[in-house]
Amino acid sequence: MRKTSITIGAAAIVATAALVLSGCSATTGGGGASTPATGTPIKVAALSGLTFFPEAPQAVKAVFDDYNASGGFHGHPLEYTVYDDKTDPAVSATAAKDALASGAVALVGSSSLLDCAVNHKTWEDNNIVSLQGTGVDPFCFTTPNIAPANDGPYFDAYATLYDGSETLGYKNICAEVVPDNDAGKAAYQQAIDAWSAKTGKTLAYSDFSLTRGQASYAGNVAALKSHNCGAVMITEVGAAVTAFIGEASNQGLNVPFLVLTSCYSDEFAKGISYGADIHLPAEFSPFTDPKDTSNTDWAKVMDAHNVPKTSFAQGGYLAAKYFIAILETVKGKVTRDSFTAAAKAMTTPVTNPMVATPWIFGPGTSHQANKSAWPVEIKKNTSEWTSLGPWLKGDEIGWVDTKQP
């Protein structure tokens, strides 16, 4: 393990592949220590909305367990604690204080609708970094101490719009946006404006009035019907999109839907019966594709630890891998300060076949390392995902990083 620990170097790609292999297989080890780590633990924490994203921290835990079993970091195991933020700012702020009080050196794989917005300042004040598993709100992509493993909904919205209008050739695209707050609304608006600037197209209709847990989408669907939409982009999470598409069927609206990565799960596909295609840009390479090989190690680790295979689990897995990569560059005692210094001193990105863009923390005041997506679809009247590809890369399709509102 320690032999393969220098993943950050000239031969980054090769090294990462080695890390991936060794990280999962405790029995084969990396050649060095293959006995379980028993030293003083290194504490790591995460804040997650467990009702929305239970798999992300489970995936992190799976990676860490394997890492500890094969010797940990110089004999020190990683001790991982997850705090439920209940998607409530008050609980989230409390959990942040709790995590800091526990002596965590970093936050890894946090997955939440609001963690970044509530706590980014706390992280900066306490010189701790967060390797977000699933970052949602704009502050995950616009602040100095947070770097997510995922693309985030704003890149997703851009990518799905670009895919819809340019690759699939849909005209008259309409948008249903759940803004959460003005910051989220502004970030979606930035993405939509960037899409318009790149493609010269505009939305036929946009509705920013969706709320979380809305009881009925009848009104929104009726409004869509009266605007002759050729396709509908919706930024809600899986369960809500299911309900929305159900209401669309009820009212006889059968146009393609362009949805975000949170819908990418087998459960979503099973709950759907719709008379038109549903397209989605997956944030990581498509695990439902039987021909895909980039997810082999991930799938093995998830299966070994009984973690459901979803894109949130992919995000958590990658965040854990990135953490280990940085950890192994830390000089001397691993503390909050030394880890943060190592993260900010990072100059060479980590690559992983699950994403098309290499990941880096580095010194910047904002971080959006991951900006690539792999198109998948549910063909009309089917209930399973079909892999389409190829990678949509942010730099190639004209993506502009989200700016802090």
Binding site: G213, S216, G219, A223, A239, A240, G246, N250, Q251, G271
Partner: protein
């Protein structure tokens, strides 16, 4: 947007509110309780029923559907029955307020449990009915809407027949009017009350299966459908089933009509409460404090 389309949109949700309102009214009349958990038990039954799918994966699709629905109805009836048993055992002489407060506590429990069990992940709760029943130009009247209205009417008419035309009805009325007297006459009060709870709970389980995952984002938001349902029931003063059905349709239609004016989306959420307030102020204008207490 065309106001006709808007009204048609409102009709479908209104029919659902009407059915919920009828259930609430029934329980209020027959068991002296405003059951805030009414929708929750139905949703719970429906969501739990899809957990049976791995067990019956071998059966044909139709058989699977039937089994799922039956399980949904039974589970909902069972949960509702347990609540009814609690009420009938310990709160048989309590005020309507105290009895209803129990359903608030159970609502809290069911919402939290639905978070724990079902989370916010999509659930493959396929609706029994989907698609428009008929289209008039752009105007779609959904199958679910028609089904809900029919169900509300059927439940209303059946209730009327049972209560007014059968020996069981006499007992039911006796139980709700004079419980102690009914007990002295040898009527199985507890059994009847629990029976009413189970039947209404089962109807709600069926109702949740019919609308499936097309109504709301998740189990929790589906449970909040009880709010417009109470608005409908209040229009009938928790007594009158025809007025309740009208009330549900009115609330739905008003909400639908507002969708024609997108700038008023915030007002839409206040419609049930406005209907409740206006109706109550009008309906109770002559009363001088409570007689019951």
């Amino acid at each position: 947007m065309n106001i006709i389309i808007a009204l048609a949109v409102g009709f479908s949700s209104g029919a659902l509110y009407a059915l919920i309102g009828v259930g609430l009214t029934l329980m209020s009349v027959l068991t002296r309780v405003i059951n805030f958990s009414l929708v929750a038990v139905g949703v719970f039954g429906a969501y739990l029923s899809i957990r049976t799918s791995p067990l019956i994966a071998g059966a044909s699709l139709d058989v699977q559907t039937v089994i799922t629905v039956v399980v949904a109805v039974l589970v909902a009836a069972l949960i509702s029955g347990i609540l009814g048993w609690i009420e009938a055992t310990w709160l048989s002489e309590a005020t309507t307020t105290a009895r209803s407060a129990v359903t608030v506590a159970s609502l809290l429990m069911l919402i939290s449990l639905s978070f724990i069990l079902f989370g916010s992940q999509p659930q493959p709760l396929r609706p029994l009915l989907i698609g428009p029943a008929f289209l008039i130009g752009d105007v779609a009247v959904t199958k679910v809407g028609v089904a809900m209205l029919v169900a509300a009417l059927v439940v209303g008419i059946l209730t009327w027949i049972v209560v007014n035309r059968t020996p069981l009805g006499i007992r039911l009325r006796a139980v709700s009017d004079r419980q102690t007297a009914a007990e002295l006459l040898g009527v199985n009060v507890k059994g009847l009350q629990v029976g009413v709870w189970m039947v209404v709970g089962g109807v709600m389980g069926l109702c949740a299966s019919i609308i499936g995952n097309t109504a709301a984002a998740d189990a929790t938001s589906m449970i909040t459908l009880v709010i417009p349902g109470t608005a409908a029931a209040l229009v009938g003063a928790f007594k009158n089933i025809p007025l309740t059905i009208v009330g549900g349709l009115v609330v739905g239609a008003l909400q639908g009509a507002l969708t024609a004016f997108p700038s008023t989306t915030q007002l839409r959420d206040w419609i049930p409460i406005l209907v409740i307030v206006l109706f109550l102020l009008w309906n109770q204008r002559k009363e001088v404090w409570d007689v019951a207490r």
